[in-house]
Amino acid sequence: MGADSLRDLWLTYQSTVAFIGLNGLLALSVYTTLSCGQLSLAQAGFMALGSYAAAVLTLHTAAPFPVVLLAGAVAPALVAVPLGLPVLRLKGVFLAIATIGFGEVVRIFFVNLDFTNGALGLVAIPQRTGIWMIYLALAAALFVLWRIQGSRAGYALEAIREDEPAARTMGIDSSAYKLSMLVLGAALAGLAGALDAHLNFMVAPANYGFGRVVDMLVYAVVGGTTVFYGPVLGAAFLTLLPEVLRELGSHVGLQPGPLRLFVNGLVLLLVILFLPNGIASLPARIRRRLAARRAEADLA
C-alpha cells in the first residue's frame, strides 16, 4: 500500500522532476555568460540547434545515444564560435538585441527547412532520455562551474564582470574568456535540447522562441546569478510553483493557466525588489537577520 502510493506519486510527478533538471541546465547555460557580465539571449537558438541535431541523428542514423547527446552539445558550441567573435564586441543591451536576432534566425531557419518538416517539426522521436541522464548532466555542469569558481579563470571572469577594461589592463584576455563561456553555455543549452527532444518525442520551431529564452533568464535571475548553483534553485522553484498552484487553484476553483504567468511575473518582481541576489542569497540573509535580532536581544 505504502509502496504503491509512492509509485503513484512518482508517476504523477516524474515529468516535473525531469523538467526541473532540464530547466536547471538551461538556466546554467544563461548563467555561464552572465558570470562574466554578458547578457546573451542566444540560448534558445543554441537549444534548437542541439535538439534538431540530436533528433536528426536519431531518426536518420543508428548512432548510439551518447553520440547523439554529444552531437547535440557540440553542434551549437561550434556555431557559438563564429557567432561570438563579432557579437561579443557588443556591450549590454546591444549584445542582448544581437543575440535575440540570432535566436530568431535559427527559429525561422527551421520553420523554412523542409528536411525537418518546417513549422511542424520532427515527431515520433524515440524516448531514450532517462531522468538519471538529465541529473547526471546537471551534476556534471554544476561540478565544472563549481571548480571554476575561485580558480584563476574564475577570478578573471569576476574581474571581467566587474570592470572589463580594468581587467584587460591586468592582462586578462577578456575576449577569449567571454567566448569560452558563450561556447560552454551553447553546449549546455544544446545538451538540454537533445535530452528534451528524446524525452518529449518531438521538436518544433515554436518551442524555441523568444519566450523560451526569457524563461531561462528568469530562472537564473530568480535563483541568483552570483553563485553557480543559484540558477538551478530558480529553475526548481519556478518549475515546481505551477504544480503547487495547480493543486491550490483547483481547491478554490481557479484556472491554473493564467494564474501561472501572473505568479511567475509576480515572483520575478518580488525577487528583483527584495532579494536582488536571488533565492541563493536567502540563507545568508536570514542568518544576518537572526544575528542582528540576537544582538538586539543581548542589548535589551
Binding site: 571548480r147 569576476e158 581587467a167 584587460r168 589592463t169 591586468m170 586578462i172 577578456s174
Partner: protein, 251 residues
C-alpha cells in the same frame, strides 16, 4: 625602456595629446605633470592601450606597442592604476590583487577539475604572494575586506598592490596620493622608490608637487597636450615656461 615618439590623440577637433616625445629609463621614476586638462590621463590611457593614438609611436624595450590590445600590453609588462580608482568592488582586497597576478600564475584549472595535486599549492602560493603585495602597501590586515568597504586611501593602496602583482617592467600611477593624508603620502613615496630598486620603472602622474620633486628622476611637463619642459626636477622647477603654465605669465 618606455619610449614615446610624436604621440598624438585627437578627440573630435580637440588635440588632447599633440606630438609628445619622452622616454622612461629602466629603474627610473618619471614624473608627468601639468595643469588640469593637459592630457596626462589621456597619455596613460594611450600607453596602456585603452585608447589608440591617432599618430606617433609608443614602444617598450624597443618593441612597438601602440597597436596592441591592452591585455597584450599588460603581458609585455605595463600595468597601471586609475585616477578614479577602478578596483573590482565586489571582490575583497586580496582577491583584487590575485586578479592582478593573473599574468604571473599558471592555469591550474584542469588540475583543479581532476583534483590533481599541485593546484592547491599553486593557489596557496598565489595567495601568499598576493598577501605579500598587500603587506608592501600596508594593507595586509584589511585583506579580506570587500574593496567597496575600504576608505579612499586604502583603495588607492590596494590598487597599487594589484598593479605591482604582475611584476610589471613599467607601472603607471595616475595620481596615487589623491585623497591621502600626509603619512600615507610619505609611505607611497618610499614605496615608489623601493619599486625602482628592482629595476622596475614608474611613470607617475601627480598633483602633489612636493612628492613629484622628491621621488622623480626626470619630469615631463605637459600643457594643452604639448611637452613644454622635460628634465630633472631642479631644472623643471625653474623653467620659465613651466612657471608661466602654472601661475600665468606676467603682463
Amino acid at each position: 625602456m618606455l619610449r614615446l615618439g610624436g604621440v598624438a590623440r585627437t578627440f573630435g577637433g580637440l588635440r588632447a595629446v599633440d606630438g609628445v616625445d619622452f622616454a622612461v629609463g629602466e629603474g627610473e621614476v618619471h614624473g608627468l605633470i601639468g595643469p588640469n586638462g593637459a592630457g596626462k590621463t589621456t597619455l596613460l590611457n594611450l600607453v596602456s592601450g585603452l585608447i589608440r593614438p591617432s599618430g606617433g609611436e609608443i614602444s617598450l624595450g624597443g618593441r612597438r606597442i601602440d597597436r596592441l590590445p591592452s591585455h597584450r600590453i599588460a603581458a609585455l609588462g605595463i600595468t597601471r592604476t586609475y585616477q578614479n580608482i577602478r578596483l573590482f568592488p565586489a571582490l575583497s582586497a586580496v582577491e583584487n590583487v590575485l586578479v592582478g597576478s593573473h599574468l604571473r600564475r599558471s592555469d591550474p584549472l584542469w588540475k583543479r577539475m581532476l583534483f590533481l595535486p599541485g593546484y592547491r599549492r599553486e593557489e596557496a602560493d598565489a595567495l601568499q604572494r598576493a598577501l605579500a603585495f598587500l603587506a608592501r602597501v600596508g594593507m595586509e590586515e584589511r585583506a579580506r575586506e570587500r574593496a567597496s568597504n575600504l576608505s579612499y586611501g586604502e583603495q588607492r593602496r590596494v590598487e597599487i598592490a594589484r598593479a605591482l602583482a604582475s611584476s610589471p617592467r613599467v607601472i603607471l600611477l595616475d595620481e596615487p596620493t589623491a585623497g591621502m593624508n600626509p603619512t600615507e603620502v610619505s609611505s607611497i613615496a618610499s614605496l615608489i622608490r623601493e619599486v625602482t630598486r628592482t629595476g622596475q620603472s614608474v611613470l607617475l602622474v601627480e598633483h602633489n608637487v612636493k612628492l613629484v620633486m622628491d621621488v622623480c628622476d626626470r619630469i615631463t611637463v605637459l600643457n594643452f597636450g604639448k611637452v613644454i619642459a622635460d628634465g630633472t626636477p631642479a631644472a623643471v622647477a625653474t623653467d620659465p615656461a613651466v612657471i608661466a603654465a602654472y601661475l600665468g605669465s606676467e603682463g
